[in-house]
Assembly symmetry: C2
Homo-oligomer: 314 residues x 2
């Protein structure tokens, strides 16, 4: 009889869930839009039903160990989603409890970056590491920190928000209301802001000038950089500089063995990794130099969120 876990990834647009084996193989994956579920109880009923249908469809004997959920503003201690600006549910939602009551199984919940960190530790490239850092470079910048072999959750379950460490107190306006947060520079949206600043502040010729500002995105910037577009190259360099400095600062706290970079921007490979490594090492305190690796995540981007959520049951 197979032991299975359900991993659920709650995002601003879609809910994805997958059936995960003990070895971290995603046997089956489903996805549906979140928009219509303004009532969380309707959502829970629908989700439980869908999961049941998926499991029956497997046609094998299994033992279901539990459900893990990764969600924005997810709190591991309470199993709640708290004031998530991009979800249809307002206030504090006890999602883990609601689902657990419905399906009579343990349900664990944490924020998406912490789930990805658990995924890296259980199924990815961090299996043998006791001290590492995970950086997810999506629209924003998420992070998770493992020290002494355990995920740092903090006293309130909200540890790991490096995207909101302040790089420049007088810098770019952040959605969080403050200024100069790391994610306003080092993220898919951050590099777009850098390109737009460079386009407006310089006369440098660039193929990106032919694209309306609102349509510029990180993939187009990456493509332009492959053609050695100067604005695109400068934008990658500046993004890497800010990220390099802030990672060097984070190292002074947890002194990790490896820093994993994951998600959209990290797919730019050497275009991002090479300058990040340079600026990171340039700004690293002497005692840490040449001891800390910067590596791509070992999780496939398609499965990472589901594997991470499932890993919460381990």
């Amino acid at each position: 009889m197979q032991k299975l876990t359900i991993g659920i990834d709650i995002g601003g647009t879609n809910i994805s869930y997958g059936v995960v084996t003990e070895n971290g193989i995603v046997k089956l994956k489903e996805s549906f839009p979140i928009k219509e579920f303004t009532d969380v109880n309707v959502f829970i009923d629908y989700l439980a039903n869908r999961i049941q249908i998926s499991l029956t469809g497997l046609g094998t004997e299994y033992e279901l160990m539990g459900v893990g959920i990764g969600a924005p503003n997810g709190n591991y201690y309470n199993g709640t989603i708290e004031f998530a600006p991009n979800l249809p549910w307002k206030g504090v939602i006890p999602l883990a409890e609601l689902l657990s009551n419905k399906i009579n199984l343990p349900v664990k919940l944490t924020n998406d970056a912490n789930a990805a960190t658990m995924g890296e530790m259980i199924y990815g490239n961090a299996k043998d590491l006791k001290d590492f850092m995970m950086i997810t470079l999506g629209t924003g910048l998420g992070s998770g920190f493992v020290a002494n072999g355990k995920l740092i959750l903090g006293h309130d379950g909200f540890a790991g928000e490096l995207g909101h460490a302040i790089f420049d107190p007088n810098g770019r306006q952040c959605n969080c209301g403050r200024k100069g947060c790391l994610e306003t520079y080092a993220s898919a949206s951050g590099i777009v802001r850098t390109v737009i600043e460079l386009l407006n502040d310089t006369d440098e010729p660039s193929s990106l000038r032919n694209i309306p500002e609102k349509e510029i995105n990180s993939e187009l910037i990456y493509k332009a950089s492959l053609e050695r577009d100067e604005i695109a190259l400068k934008a990658f360099d500046y993004t890497a500089y800010v990220l390099g400095v802030m990672l060097a600062n984070a190292v002074t706290i947890t002194s990790p063995e490896v820093i994993f970079l994951f998600g959209g921007l990290a797919n730019a490979g050497d275009r991002l990794f090479k300058p990040v490594k340079k600026y990171f090492n340039d700004h690293l305190l002497e005692i840490y130099k040449n001891k800390i690796e910067l590596k791509p995540s070992g999780l496939s981007e398609n499965d990472a969120a589901i594997l991470g959520a499932a890993a919460l049951l381990k």
Copy 2:
């Protein structure tokens, strides 16, 4: 029969050691200059002898549990002191092993700020805390981080160097060779640099103008601030601003319940705590606001280093 531990504090000028009871009472304390001990083996012989004399002098029956050492650039994993610029011994010194071989007892060693952190956890105000941060404000700025109830040592034993997190990559020259490290602003030497900058860059009248630059120290600045000297008040405000921002950044990683401030500058009390609290809360991400206390350490300054070192045996 009493169970006793020896706590040793190795500093650039003096070595202090104390005999510590199970309840964290320092029964006896001795101190001698380090300068003459250029040969570490001679030092070990002398130290072991002095400790033996002290213990005999107690005139009670006891069981000695072991020795803890706090030292600059101390590495917990190896029990070594590595490349400490202010000590007479160069390179990597296996101090814990040397002393343990001499006295046939367990010897643990870590850096001074981590020792103070252990002291706070075992004997101070952090007894019931699983997630806290300790900041020692001396000539430099030391730090220790506890998450999930354990001191974060990092993969190489050198975690907790927040004094060398970079506040401004183009800022003040630091002894470590880089620029803009937190401790060049927020420490006894940092506030002196701020005062000297303010004296040179402004025409503000100040009693501190009557003191030769080389003689200005943090106590004189504190005294001037009590007389509402504008330069001194501005210097405390700026020190608090930099510290507040950088503590808010550190919170994004470990999300502690309490941040303890300890040592020289922290003795300025409200003069420092009030503005630090203000700037800290101003720069804190919304989800952390009003959840994290800034408190003075529960360790007396005279005994903290010895208690911290002794706490390593717990």
